[in-house]
Structures are given as C-alpha cells and as structure tokens.
Symmetry: C2
Subunit: 313 residues, 2 copies
C-alpha cells in the first residue's frame, strides 16, 4: 500500500492543493493561481510541477504516491474527460489522462461539488456514514450524492445538481440554467436575497430592519437571529423550499445524513432548524430520522474529497 | 462459474418462482400460493421445497446453483432482514438467512419494486443501460433506482420510494403513507381517477364521455385516445406531476433511462408523451435527453431482477 496522495481542487481563480497520507492525514496544503489564459493550457502543467516539486521537498518517492485526485468546476465523466469548462478556459479536455502523463501517477477526477461531498463524508461532518447528501449554499446551490462511499456521477455528469430541482412555478425570473423555478433561485446566497425582495413585493412593505436594496444573505440571517419578523418569514420560505427538495431527494436515495455547507451555512445551526422543520413535514416517514449537520471542512472539503478519489478502502 | 439460479417474487397472494441459467435465460417459471396464515411461517419453507424439488425434476446439482434471489413487498435491508411485512403476516424476519438455511444455497433479497427495476435493466426495456429509474404505476406508485447496475437500497430501505415525492400542496386528502401531496395520490391507477374527480369538482362539470363515479384508469386513457377534451386535461395534469417528479430525480441521480411499468403503462406510448412533455420542461438541461421506455417484462420483472441479485457480472 502506498503512503501518500494529492487532493487538488481547481477553482476559477486559485487551485488548492493538498498532500495527504493515505490514512487521511493532511500533511501540507497550499494554493497556486489558476492561469486561465490561452485556453487554460498551463493549469495542468502547473499542478503537475507543484506536485512533483512537493515530493522533492518532502523527500517522497513517486512510487510511494497512490495517485492524484482532482476536482473541477463543471461536469467531468467517469473517464476524467470534461466536455467544456468555461471558467477555466478549457474546451474538450482529457484531464486525468493529461495529468497522469505529466506526473507519472494515477489520476482520478470529479466535479467540485461532488468531491466536496465526498470530503465531508470521509473526514468532515459526515465521517463514519456510508451514504449522504451534501448541499452547498454559496453563490449557487451545489450538491453531491454519496451512496456506499461512491459519488453518483450520473449519465451526463449531472448527479447531485440539486440546485436545479424545481420547487415552485411562481418564482420570478429565470435561473442561470435557463429554467424557471429552480431551488437555486431561492436558496443560494443570491437567491435568498431575491426571495426576500419578492416576498416584500408580494406582501407589501413590512416593518423590518433589512434594507431591501442592499441586504446580503448574512444580513437576513442576522436579522432572523435578532427576531425580525419579516426575516423569519423569509427563512421559513427558504426552509420550506430546501426542506421540500431534500425530502424528495430522500424518497429517491434515502441517505443517512444531509450535510449543509457553503458560505451561507456560516449562519449556523439556525439554518438547520428551518430546513428540518419542512423536511420532516414533506419526507417519507421512513426517512424522517435522517441527520442534518453543518459542514466542517470549509474550503478544504474539495482537497479532502479529491484525495479520497484515489484511495481504495 | 455455476450455471443456475432462482428468482423469487413474493406477493401477498402468490409467489412467482423462476429457474434461470446464470446467463439470464429463463428455463421455467411457476407460481405457488402465498400462505400468510400463522405469521406467514410457511412462506419460506414452501419456496425452499419447490426450489429443491425443481432441481430434482431438472436433474440439476445443488452445487451448480449460484443462489436464490428473493423480492419481498416491503423494506428489506442489505442483510436480508425485514422489520415487518404486514401483507405477508411477517414480523421481524431474517429472510435470506432462513431461506439459505432451508436450501443450502446463498440467498439475497430486495424490495419488490427495486428488483423489478433491476430486472428491466438486465433483460427488459432498459437492457444494456448501466443506470436507470423504473416507475411502477399500479395500485400505488412504486420505483427503483439502479446506478452502475446496483439497486440504491437506502439507509432505511426507502431508496426509490418515488410515489412519496411531494408534488402539490393542494391535493385533497391524505396518502396511504400519512403525508399529503404525494405523487402516488395523483399518478397511480387509483390516483388518476381521484385526480379526475378533483379536477371535475374544481372546474365544474365538463362534457366528457367519462362516468366520474365509476371510471377506471383504463377508461381515462381510452378517453384520451378517443380525443375526449376533459380526459386530455387529466392526462396533462398527470403528466405534469409525474414529469416534475422524474425531472427532480434526474437532478439527483441523472439516469440514462426511465422505464414506465405497472398496470397503467398498458395504456401504451401515449402515456410517455404526456410525461416527457413536462419532464423536458422541468429537468436540468444536461438531463433532457434521457430515454423514456415502457416496461417489457410485465409480471416477470420481479423474478428476473431477483435472479440478477445473485449473479455477479
């Protein structure tokens, strides 16, 4: 059994890199810029160079490296091929094949939201569970479905695209995906702000500490904690949409645990209370006892999950 | 490699049994009554006796039997234990352990809707696909989710309980599960009849060939085919609910194919048209090209899928 591996999380601005022992211990982590110019052609060579340099620095033999796992912001199939990843500049790219040729080490790839879910299942909030669903409430709503320790990638790389579950015909405007009524439109950090404005329009002006034009998701959750009645109504509606979506996911894959992560999860346990209230209302009775936990790995979830891709149990 | 196996499908009235070659050829099939009296204590001994007798009849050595797969109408966990199956008379029962002791052959178990899905994926409408979702439109709405050739059983045996996806807050009455607004309330054979009556009440009397008090699901689909305007509206609403539920499943597990089965699927391809229309509207764009097919194995799906449980690929 080899003793080391790398977990890589490629973002549009920086690439996060981690060197791990295969027992899951994070030995070192660092970031490099994501050079997206010229079709992002430097991204994989940069990663390879920094990984190999780290081996020299740590006096680790390449033969003792089990592999390199890499998470990318977009669909990637089981063969490690991305059709197109706009924010990296990539067109069609055989990511794991190229990175493997550059490093001489086995590589495996996954979608960033999916590997973050795998990371939280392995060493984060859901450690010890075999099946779980992670929801990332950030600029958008991402997700990852883990069953028996494996990511559900899906036939089109769309497994865990839970931000695009349809929750309401009445939501104003369109989602970034082109559809109308997606969970992301009301449950992302941007979405909850739009939800609050929509509710204010629907119901007429209500007394609230919130500045409707300039408020952020954090402002809304702060107001909830301060007992603002309007913010509470917004949180209830947010909880209803997300609780409904998770209930319907439960009737499909019946996970042991739901992990709530992403920037908005920093609001803390209060966010779980609003989600669970509606989850319990809508879910199939056999699934009512699923656990709800907040993510614990933060921005490191991606490097942990990517590393796990190359570690056999 | 052993050459034979059994697929068993236990129902509340009859047990369907099949003897297969492990390449998937069905050699013989037959039914025996399900003796539910006295806590259903005779069910497994009956199955064992008929299976062993069939081996004698066919002059097959027990050593040449790869195993017995058994589908049961209710939750069954990965260890082959059912907590309670009301319509078989069973309380807690170690199904596969008992059947294995009775026969001297390896046994594996699954939920009936899940094994039917596995059967259709193996030798039925979705043969050749690695991932698929089967929906059974019968007295209720059942389902099974297959990913990479494996059933998603779920933490509580509720994987694929897609009849209990919540689709509408306004549906009158309660589902058998105790919730309100489940897909099953409007998309099962009973459900579509109730849906039609609800719509007739909502909209006032419309001209229709349907007799609202006595109509069946078949009557509704016959009327759809005859161009009845009210029946068409009912089919649209049915299609919207089911298409929405399947779209949301796609954003979770992203299957290659959806298989529509159960008694109501005998209405034929027209039923797919109504479902697909709304599936395409609601689903994430990456999942729009999923195939929709009608089940082909009919009542044999369960014995095929049960047999597949004991066959390694």
């Amino acid at each position: 059994m080899k003793n080391y591996c790398f977990g890589i999380d490629v973002g549009g601005t920086t690439v996060k890199m981690g060197l791990f022992r295969t027992d899951g211990q994070l030995l070192d982590k660092w970031e490099i810029p994501t050079r997206t110019e010229e079709g992002g052609k430097a991204i994989l060579p940069d990663i390879a160079a920094y990984a190999l340099a780290k081996l020299v620095e740590k006096d680790i033999a390449r033969d003792d490296v089990a592999g390199i796992g890499i998470g990318v912001p977009g669909p990637i199939n089981a063969e490690g091929v991305v059709p197109h990843t706009a924010n990296l500049g990539w067109g069609y790219k055989e990511v794991t094949k190229e990175l493997s040729e550059l490093t001489g080490v086995v590589c495996k790839g996954g979608n960033d939201a999916n590997v973050a879910a795998l990371g939280e299942m392995w060493k984060g909030a859901a450690a010890g569970h075999r099946s779980g669903v992670m929801v990332t409430l950030g600029t958008g709503v991402g997700g990852g479905i883990i069953v028996e320790g494996q990511i559900i990638v899906g036939a089109n790389g769309a497994g865990g695209e839970i931000g695009h579950i349809h929750v309401d015909d009445e939501i104003p405007g369109l989602c970034g995906c082109g559809n109308q009524g997606c969970l992301e439109q009301v449950a992302s950090a941007n979405g909850i702000v739009k939800l609050a404005r929509w509710m204010a329009q629907e119901n007429g002006a209500e007394e609230t500490v919130l500045e409707l034009e300039t408020m952020t998701a954090k402002d809304i959750w702060d107001a909830v904690k301060d007992g603002d009645a309007f913010a509470d109504k917004v949180a209830e509606r947010f909880g209803r949409y997300l609780g409904l979506a998770l209930a319907n996911i439960a009737s499909t894959v019946d996970p042991e645990v739901f992990v709530i992560g992403g920037g908005m999860s920093k609001a803390g346990p209060v966010i779980l209370d609003y989600i669970k209230k509606y989850y319990v209302k809508y879910t199939f009775k056999g699934c009512r006892d699923a656990e709800f936990v907040l993510a614990t790995l933060g921005n490191d979830a991606g490097i942990f999950g990517s590393a796990k891709l190359v570690i056999e149990e």
